[in-house]
Symmetry: C2
DNA sequence: GTAAATAGTTGACGTGAATCAAAAGATCCT
DNA sequence: AGGATCTTTTGATTCACGTCAACTATTTAC
């Protein structure tokens, strides 16, 4: 075998269930810690890989008993809660390498429902087996504390965004967030496909779909982005950052 | 000693540094888990109790290196971040029995600053010693996972509140939140003193101080609450719940 | 392939909360 | 005690975003 050729497993398609943590392209995101190879193997053994979810499929529903957290391997999912009045509220989007379900731990049931935005492969991590393993692998315990802490930090940034920012700032921030997360996965930071609908974006950002649409149009007019349906090209990332932070016409 | 009399330590004043976890009145909130008495003692031994903070004192500042998480024993604190433009954003209020600083774990430095709203006693829990201890006490590991998960759940509820609710709903929700948290500590759910200023409330809820003031006045006119400065009496908790959930004139 | 349903865009108009302004209470300081 | 500073209240005005409505583009279903 030519050493410049990838190993066979590296070329497994993203939905192949034979992938293991050790050769997963996402392990630097999903497991950004120094685990020994044998520890990775132990973790790998408790992880379950189900068949891919199709668009619209539920990964789990709010109030289901909590058993596992889930890492997105490919595709994308959204988390949402249903209010008393039956309205949806999207609480987050999760891209490959990101972990969802951490909210279920405290109450022993999930507080959100999670739905696939497109065909998605998911790694299931049975939480109680992970907990046991954590007692033996300090770095794994540390990793989960960090994962949860990161979720807290991100949620708090979201609180700030919703509390202080205009519609334009919110949308610019979301685009930059997706851009960064793509970049971490070695994908283009300036050209990508949004996995979620305008409706989901509006719901997530606390805006109506009409406002979302208008802002996209405006950003396009200003030559900051090019948006063709869900395909986005960031033309002037400099200016997009300015827009996200209150722009030139800073009014706050 | 009369068995019906409390132990001497039960009557320690809340700022007394000789208090221990085993006899702390808040341990059912701060440590709502079944730890064996000897485990509680091990935990107690790593906890440090500094001298009380005065109003306005910092517990820590954003970007300080992360060493510890902190449990509020008495008083109250607020967490806040400073935006690029130097504006404060309050990200949470923490009352006795609640734990602050969990956001620092992932980046190894705090992302918020924490400031005392009034004279406050704080228990410091050195995180790395707690981590080591967690490897030996599975229930303690479990407890910290749950604490962090609860913070995630609460932050997500805050996201929903900010994303979907009117000014009136936000303030009603905050009052009910404080009421519930007081209730858990065996205090009155209907009469209490707000530890934070109107400015802090507005900042936290994404409202201007003027709006906060107007809403307080309106709730008072409607005979739902009585507000004399920071002293609050909830007169009609039924109606306050309705107000928090969109009220009768439900427009959403 | 065509109808029906769903998702997105654009315009006109209304409204809830921000902003601006002023004054009345609290609290701090010497 | 008395001036200074900070906090809170209330009113008048403005504006960003929501609402309502009409229309287009895209996807789904038969």
């Amino acid at each position: 075998m030519n050493a410049n050729q990838p190993f066979q497993q590296d070329s497994l398609c993203p939905h192949d269930r034979r992938v293991s943590c050790a050769n997963c392209r996402l392990n630097s995101i999903c497991l950004p810690i120094s685990l020994h190879i044998e520890d990775i193997d132990k973790l790998n053994q408790i992880i379950q890989r189900g068949k891919p979810l199709q668009k619209g499929d539920y990964l789990y529903r709010a109030n289901d008993p909590f058993d596992s957290v889930f890492a997105v391997r490919s595709g994308a999912v959204k988390a949402l809660t249903i209010s008393d009045k039956g309205e949806e509220q999207v609480t987050g989007f999760y891209l490959p390498g990101e972990v969802v379900g951490l909210d279920g731990i405290s109450e022993n049931r999930y507080t959100n429902s999670v739905i696939a935005l497109e065909t998605s492969s998911i790694c299931e991590i049975p939480f109680h087996r992970m907990e046991e393993l954590s007692l033996k692998i300090p770095n794994l315990q540390r990793h989960f504390f960090q994962l949860m802490s990161r979720e807290i930090t991100q949620d708090q940034q979201m609180i700030i965004l919703l509390s202080k920012s205009s519609a334009e700032e919110r949308i610019a921030s979301l685009l930059l967030s997706i851009s960064n997360r793509n970049n971490r996965r070695q994908l283009s930071a300036t050209a990508f496909r949004l996995p979620m609908s305008r409706t989901d974006i509006g719901n997530f950002l606390g805006l109506t779909i009409e406002t979302v649409s208008r802002i996209f149009s405006r950003l396009q007019q200003q030559q900051i982005i090019e948006a063709d349906k869900k395909e986005i090209r960031i033309i002037n990332i400099e200016e997009l950052h300015k827009t996200a932070n209150g722009g030139d016409a800073c009014h706050s």
